[in-house]
Subunit: 286 residues, 6 copies
């Protein structure tokens, strides 16, 4: 489980960032040539910028601004954060790769950079999280509020999130204050990592590396979803899920049974295998 | 199941469009007279326009624009699309009728035209789908992204959708790339027509004509929901559902049992009967 | 159950409003001093205003405006509504207290006032509801539409809602036309209080005082959730739930069994106890 | 010369305001019916408002706002000012009448209210002047700056201006800090009432009642332009001009000669006679 | 003098429009390649459009829009006008050529199209004039007001203007209701073609073909400035100026004297010779 | 005459910049405390920034942006320019001092920084000029166009301007491509430094150090206005003016006569003495 600093698979070499940025610009240039109606958008968001960090800061600043929080202020805020903490950019790169590799609907890196609300919400969250750690709570919470309004993705700025994350579709995701998400995790839309009530303290789920959480799953309380575990769509999970097992249903049960649950070998957060457990789901009887 | 071209109930005669537009203008005029505070809004969105297509293009352009995708560009895009493919307008007319007939909270056609995010998201999707079929993917995806941000409705531009569709409330709806939705279907909010993992290809549900899908239902994989079937709220469906039957629960079961499921006679997508199956749901025991 | 006029716990003395507003300004002043980047925002939304009502009207007007519904128009509308019906302000005060007391992530009143989309959506709904009762349906529905777009919270303007309400996270909440929500209720995100089909009339749930409804719960039809009852996350409820009991699962069952359900003593809407029923949930078997 | 309180012709009875407002609404209603493309504009600026003061506050708030001075803030500011000092409204009424009576291109009161930058700048100036007198200089100067940017009319907030004023065309008008303008004055575009240098104190012109100042005239220093005098277009005036006389040229000379200048009978500020002096202009010899 | 329909030098063949548009796109493409920061702007204003008319309509719509007159409405208005009356486009082409040929600071056609407020104000005026002739006065006047606000160019919508016009710098230009401007005229900034007073009727100057009017000149009354005449900067003209002569000074005198004024051979509106008359200006004695 | 690098009085030590910025923040803080309605504006424009350069870049970016040239792009552009060429900032400091010292209506440095369109236009021009010198003409011209639209100040980006400049009121100022303005010059509104016709090359006035140019003066051609000279309001100057002399009238004459013009001792650009020459103006005979 990450302690804020991801380990495996997450060290992105500067060279890699350079390659990715070159790739993104090439994609955008090709799209701009084929589609003049979109060229203005592609130039303003990507092609006029000298780096991924500037492009992302510009795009987030313009997406998240409001009449009372100006785009220039947010742009400054993002630029400063990315400059202060380079790991924010390497995390963004890892997330771009995650989307490209795991989501068959992701046709290009630039598509993810521009259009994926899960990706954008996650990068903005990382900046809010940096502010939170710098004891700048009010600003972190204002940013959090804008992310929740604009993307319908509600991640508390204190929540710790690893690298290589895919928030697929992302609408309706809620992640609570003391939640922790490991590396190479994939989380579908409408997923809740929620708390247990009105008492403060450590009260939200801890999601291990490589976990896959299906659409609409609700995971509540300070419980552990073990490394490489899988949570089926629509499941309600209130108790720890062991590593490499699958929990499904409401309330959730382990596929294969509580005593000897089936163990899979793959990393579901990366393989994105949502549905292969169906045949094993004994009482699934349509 | 539609092959992109709806059949039954979906041929809207031009006369019908004319009648509807006259009706919408009459509603708006009445509202403008009764409510001067709203008159400016009603004139700009409806009463100043010469046709439903222009009104809708204007409204969508202003709803979906951003600081980097200007309203004039989108307005143009919508006008051109509606002009290029008249079936887009007849589909909008069928959807307006569907909302008016099936949703008791829909007090007028103009109410739906102006305020229903499901209706607006669906019309914008149809334009994105046209762009997709014209191999203008980047523009289709940019439009898709705006729809997902503004309406929290995430329909992949490649998804094929019939006519006479009601997306009721609509927030949180997710429809994947290879999903197909027939005619006269009603889909509540938070419904997912999702895929099966990281492998591409045909991997999303096929929804037959006249189907009703309850709030929060999650339907995953390249499965068939048969004509006139009903999926209960909150259900998780991973296997085909036969025509005219009802699937409920997580995991979903057929009402009446797998072997001899109860068959209903009505078209649930039109009758909107959400709850009559309760008495038959044998283990529903509060 | 409220008949539109809340009773218990809801009379907020003017003195109390004054105290709260003083407190909010003190919080905002402190934050503005510590965080110059946010000071402009805090002055425009809070510190430049002479009352909570003006601050809230300004903030909602700027949040909910669009290119066709100007902020000045909405600001006027809110100011007039709060002036016409002082109970709107006392309800806002009770809601601010509810968030501060029940949500451990709510660090200050000003945080809730500025950033909680559930709080803001609820106050805007109350104004829409006032318009509805004044037979100004078109304006009420236009406001409703803006709330649904901006906050992804969809509360029909006819729905009656008590005081001391916490819509926590709030994204995806849907509340139907004839729903009634009592006082001191807490409702998590993705909760649906839905109808039963295409027939009009009284068709939505009635939620008693002090009820707690977990994330993603779907409650359908004109049924009663008794005072102090609890509905577990992800539950699908189609039948009445007795007072002080807990319904969980899909379909929902009463904890302790249908015949002799366990009764709790607390007011779950205030204690926010989401998960203590787990040990009693007999078939919860991970 | 006015001492801030105009005398003649300027007491506008409340009844008169009522009549004018009724007239303006009738004009706007007629235009909205004939021109649907403009109806939205007319409803938002005039027809949705309950009084001239609200309409004017709305219109000025939306014209003068910027990304850092929001329309809601300005709207509030204008409403409060008009409410605090009713003479602001009667001055606006007198100015509307002046434009309608003196400018043959002014086809209606609503045309002036909506479109005359001179009229709008003058009303906004009056509010800035009120703020100045209330020792709220920074706000007065910020408003002044917006007026100068938006209308290219630069009237120092300390300048005192009577009633029944017509700033015709208005672009480029500059009026200095200690200038005073009487009642029933007409001033064309590019007119400067300027100072004498870097020394403070009373250093700008005093314009008597009924004066007419032609386009591009430059009047500098603490000099008097007597009641009913006329200053020709393009004149440069640095010395007092006696009442009922005409000064023309650069440097300005009195028509008829310094010793026995021609005296006219009419009130040029009202008759708008720009050019009848030509025949008397002895050396005008094309 | 034009009767609304220009004759000489103004018939622009469609082929010529095509050539110019191709040229403008080539210029914009070159600039976009050299200056990525400007590429987004160039694509949105020029390169994404299929014709000069669409580009100009888009640009004017976005320049002239306000919070109460939306860009989409104006865009529509311009598109419709250009489509209804093709002479509007040929006039724009002639004006682009005029700027390119006469203004040494005009480095390209695209520079004029995008940046010359005089050019843009003139094209918008032509649309306002069309509306005026169609008896749509209120809309014409609203457009006029926006042009005067945004460009500080105030041309009454009834004024008739020929082709091949250069409004150089343009700030502060005022052209009255019954003014007529011929073909191939050049008018510098701060020029007034004004009226004579409060009486209606034909009361503004008539400017012949090929006239050049210097900066700050004020021309008042229903007088004729003959073909090929020249009016010096800062002149005040109240009497007819014969063809091919030069009027200078305040009040204006003819160069060479009233009786035998010097006649020049060139077309000053095209040669832009501002200052060659100096040596002849007898009393010019610095 | 400056060669782009000002000499006298224009070297601003970094310490001086620091002192001025401290002073501006103190002024803004005092104003924010006294005027809560303006505090948001003061924080966003001044108090949230760490330096004069950032404050100015923010303010200009928000003033000059449009729907097709975003504030974030302009903000970046200004920040980069100020960072690239520190003399831009020292020139801004000298201009702030000039306004404060010479204009009795300038009550504070922050007042000038925020509200003086002449000051803001001049700083933005300096950035456009830097771009011009860097051979980035299209961007320089686009910025020039925005300055001309927003401030009605039209300074060609190639024009060279010294330090310690006061453009007072500024509306309508036009400065041509090859014009040069020295240090410590004061220029009133409506002043033209214009060219001579359609031929390119060096064709605009050269203004010496310490010159004062009165309102509405028109100076045409490649002529010299000598150091410390004065040009009266409304003058039309087409021939060189010797140092320390005064030119007035249309056409301009030297005060004291062509042969032995009166020479003054002061630096009119600093003393701002507009009118003391009146008694000497022999034929000024009102």
């Amino acid at each position: 489980m990450p302690t804020g600093l991801p380990k495996a698979n997450s060290s992105v070499a500067p060279d890699d960032q350079g390659w990715l940025w070159t790739q993104i610009k090439a994609e955008a240039r090709r799209d701009a040539e084929l589609e003049p109606a979109l060229a203005s958008y592609l130039y303003s968001t990507i092609l006029s910028h000298s780096s991924l960090v500037r492009s992302l800061s510009f795009h987030l600043g313009n997406k998240l601004c409001s009449s009372t929080l100006l785009s220039t202020l947010l742009y400054d805020l993002f630029l400063n954060a990315f400059s202060f903490d380079p790991s924010l950019c390497s995390a963004a790169v890892a997330d771009l790769r995650a989307a490209r590799e795991r989501d068959p609907a992701c046709v290009s890196y630039s598509h993810c950079l521009l259009n994926y609300k899960g990706f954008l919400a996650c990068q903005a969250h990382r900046v809010a999280h940096l502010l939170w750690r710098q004891s700048r709570q009010p600003l972190a919470l204002a940013l959090h509020s804008r992310i929740a309004d604009v993307f319908a993705v509600d991640i508390h700025p204190a929540a710790r999130i690893g690298k290589g994350i895919l928030f697929d579709h992302a609408t309706g995701v809620v992640v609570g204050e003391t939640a922790v998400i490991g590396n190479n995790v994939s989380i579908l839309h409408h997923v809740t990592l929620g708390g247990t009530g009105k008492v403060g303290g450590d009260r939200h789920p801890k999601i291990g590396d490589g976990v896959l959480i299906g659409a609409g799953a609700t995971i509540l309380g300070n419980i552990k979803i073990g490394e490489g575990a899988k949570v089926g769509a629509g499941s309600v999970v209130l108790i720890d899920v062991p590593p490499q097992t699958t929990a499904v249903g409401n309330p959730a049960r382990l596929v294969g049974g509580k005593e000897k649950p089936s163990k899979h070998e793959d990393v579901p957060g990366e393989s994105m295998d949502h549905t292969s457990f169906i045949s094993e789901w004994s009482d699934y009887i349509i």
